[in-house]
């Protein structure tokens, strides 16, 4: 299981391609392009996090981050 998930906004495909290339051999990192239309992908990621953290208040608001920034990073403890 990856320790870090890089979720890249669909608007920043160049960044996605680069991170995917650079982390392709790294088992600690996973790079995802946010292709979702209805939030399904992030719902899956939130599910992963929910199983690993007990405090929901610590969950990153990935959707909000991706509205403002090119990439959101989720760390899995």
């Amino acid at each position: 299981m990856a320790r870090y998930i890089f979720i890249v906004s669909l608007r920043h495909r160049t960044l996605y391609d680069y991170l995917l290339q650079r982390f392709s051999d790294d088992p600690n990192a996973q790079v995802i392009l946010d292709r979702r239309r209805g939030g399904r992908r992030l719902a899956e990621i939130s599910g992963v996090l929910e199983r690993r953290r007990t405090d929901r208040r610590q969950q990153p608001d990935v959707s909000e981050e991706l509205r403002r920034r090119s990439v959101a990073v989720v760390t899995i403890p």
Binding site: Y4, H12, T14, L15, N28, R69, S70, V71, V73, T75
Partner: protein, 136 residues
């Protein structure tokens, strides 16, 4: 080098940028240093070229400042997400000094080796600053 040491070096590199200390930054670079961005076809190669590139950024944006909000280390790589601020002060024949404020975000992926920072790739979320620096 350990991942903690890699993090320390990259943190120091951004501190050197924020201190506008070109020598301190250059001292962290490997002899074979390469710096790329996605919008420029020609990479910066070597310490002296990196020093010149940094000086150019600081000439155009004399109060350039990076705020780091995410740092991730994995293997020999460090991912850093940042917000950069500054005000344009550089002048050129084609574009007068404006004092206009810059606030732009992006990230940097750095690869480290025994000699320090070997390779960095900067991703600017727009190419506004790069166009401005190139115009000087």
């Amino acid at each position: 080098m350990s991942q903690q040491e890699n993090l320390r070096i990259i943190r120091e590199a951004f501190e050197a940028w924020n201190a506008h200390d070109v020598d301190r930054y250059a001292a962290l670079l490997d002899e074979g240093y390469v710096e790329e961005t996605h919008t420029r076809p020609t990479p910066v190669r070597g310490r002296e070229a990196a020093r010149a590139a940094m000086q150019e950024y600081l000439r155009v944006l004399p109060d350039l400042h990076f705020d780091l909000d995410v740092m991730i280390t994995s293997g020999d790589q460090v991912f850093t997400r940042w917000l950069v601020t500054g005000s344009y002060r550089g002048e050129s024949m084609s574009r007068p000094s404006s004092g206009r404020q810059l606030e732009e975000s992006g990230c940097t992926l750095s690869k480290l080796g025994e000699g320090g920072i070997v390779h960095v790739w900067h991703y600017w979320e727009t190419d506004h600053i790069l166009r401005h620096v190139a115009a000087q």
